[in-house]
Symmetry: C2
């Protein structure tokens, strides 16, 4: 075909080919993993919604009624949900095919007052993600999309991005879901205070991810590492999912070649994290829901990129004339 004519679609196809070590790659089927946990920082009034919503949404994902479920059905993708530390899980939700219950604790601590979790809990959250990869990623899965739910987790993600990239609280804190100007200013102050409070105690990556981290975010980092080790493309969604990608890349820099950024959300920290990973998103839809919704929308494009490398006629095979000079 003419040089460059398929732009980044061809790059995605080549990325699949490189990961799968084949000239005829597949960009389908895909698994959307939605990891959920609660955040102690929600006590500080950073969200418009109460922590109960985390568990209620887990129930909604399991029932198939959420936005990510609708988008997954359209994309022909499987949705799997995991409880990494939900405070109020609705009664009757037990471990089964579509829900994994592997809570590290009933939510993190408020990181304005103490570390969100211990270093041991941070290791265990990453390990839980690795185990979810072994449980969920069947042999035919070619793509894993990282989704999440956790009231307060845009604040946790902002603190992690600032800590890992050196950006300021002002550069990374956005409105999250449904936050007004007043609460936005409050969130910025909280992230700045948390960074100042923990910095004297932080010597390495593990100190930071334990002190200002979240269980679902670390679980997603572990799941990303598992997926990459199995030769699977990892699709990053919004700011929280991309923070998980950033952590995975700090633990294992070569994972970056397995990442695809689905969309650019309106949280300012999202762009900071994408820049730190040198990733350019393919969709521009101003989504701020999380859950893996943006990643779900990118799945048909990824599948199509694989199709093109397998099924498209070349100029030669189709008898098309070449350039005249």
């Amino acid at each position: 075909m003419p040089p460059g004519s398929l732009g980044r679609l061809l790059e995605i196809g080549r990325q699949l080919a490189a990961i799968q070590c084949t000239e005829r790659p597949e960009g389908h089927p895909a698994l959307i993993a939605v990891l959920a946990a609660d955040h102690g920082i929600a006590e500080a009034g950073v969200s418009a919604y109460p922590s109960e919503v985390t568990g209620q949404m887990v129930a909604n994902y399991v029932r198939g009624g959420a936005a990510v479920n609708v988008l997954a059905r359209r994309a022909g993708a499987i949705v799997r949900v995991a409880d990494l530390g939900v405070k109020h899980l609705p009664a009757g939700l037990t471990d089964h095919d579509s829900l994994a219950t592997c809570p590290i604790a009933g939510g993190t601590a408020n990181f304005l007052e103490r570390p969100a979790m211990s270093r041991v809990e941070a290791y265990r959250a990453i390990e839980a993600g690795l185990a979810l990869g072994d449980r969920w990623i069947r042999d035919d899965i070619r793509v894993v999309a990282l989704g999440e739910m956790g009231i307060g987790n845009t604040t946790t993600a902002a603190a992690l991005i600032a800590a890992l990239t050196g950006a300021s609280a002002r550069d990374v804190v956005g409105r999250g879901t449904g936050v007004d100007d007043h609460r936005w200013e409050h969130k910025r102050g909280i992230v700045a205070d948390a960074l100042e409070f923990h910095a004297p105690h932080c010597d390495d990556l593990w100190d930071w991810i334990a002190r200002v981290g979240g269980f679902e975010i670390l679980g997603l980092a572990g799941l990303a590492l598992s997926a990459a080790s199995k030769g699977v493309l990892v699709v990053l969604d919004g700011v929280i999912s991309t923070t998980a990608g950033l952590i995975a890349a700090r633990l294992c820099p070569s994972i970056r070649g397995h990442f695809l950024a689905a969309h650019l959300g309106p949280e300012p920290g999202h762009r900071v994290a994408l820049d730190a990973l040198a990733l350019i998103p393919i969709l521009n839809l101003e989504l701020r829901l999380g859950e893996g919704t943006g990643a779900a929308l990118a799945l048909p494009i990824i599948a199509a990129a694989g199709d093109l490398l397998r099924d498209m006629a070349t100029f030669e095979s189709a008898g098309i004339s070449g350039p005249t000079d």
Copy 2:
């Protein structure tokens, strides 16, 4: 759901709802229309490929081997092809289900020397597009994507965009498919010369579209008008398809509410035309192939936008707690 959380995906759903006059819109099934014609300006050496490629690619679309066919299969969309004025149509290609032969002439004239077509031919090209809409848009079709093929047509599109928006040749001329720096400068000069040559004779829109137009571009404008009149969403692809949208909007300004811009291509005129239509594209993939490839990639997103309005649980129906204040 939380305000704004689904961003422009919800806007697309609302657009479908408004066009279809229903709260439960459908964003599927879709038809991808690929209109082809040759351009006299190709004589001036604006393309790296010979005019023969236009007809050869028509044969490739009909056989199902081109990029747009592969992407259409992934999206579950129908491809229909039309000859609006192909100079060298391969033997054996006759009018049938997937190919409509309705040539206005065997390509346009070189608009550096004379008008590309007469005003009567311009009317006939628009009428041919209206007739294709009646032929192809079955009752269940909800979305029509505008694709095209025509060696030389990025130069025609650049001239039309400059003429219709007042932009300069430098603002609108890009590299087309596989053009080097030297040919790029040559293309800019050609468009500037053509605008200067025809301007003294142009009093209205019809003068311009006849003098620097192309048969497939005018056909697509007619097809867009037909689709809109039938309550169908019209998906614009690259710079040529968007030029057709611009012409349709000048003929019938209210059509803009039926348009969705699929992607932003690298041709500078594409952004000028999108700005003139006040459209923001949803994909960022640096595609420059045309054919409707970018529009085809947007189809699953449009289908998903309809799904969300029909199938997603509300906070109330799913028993999710509302905001705390």
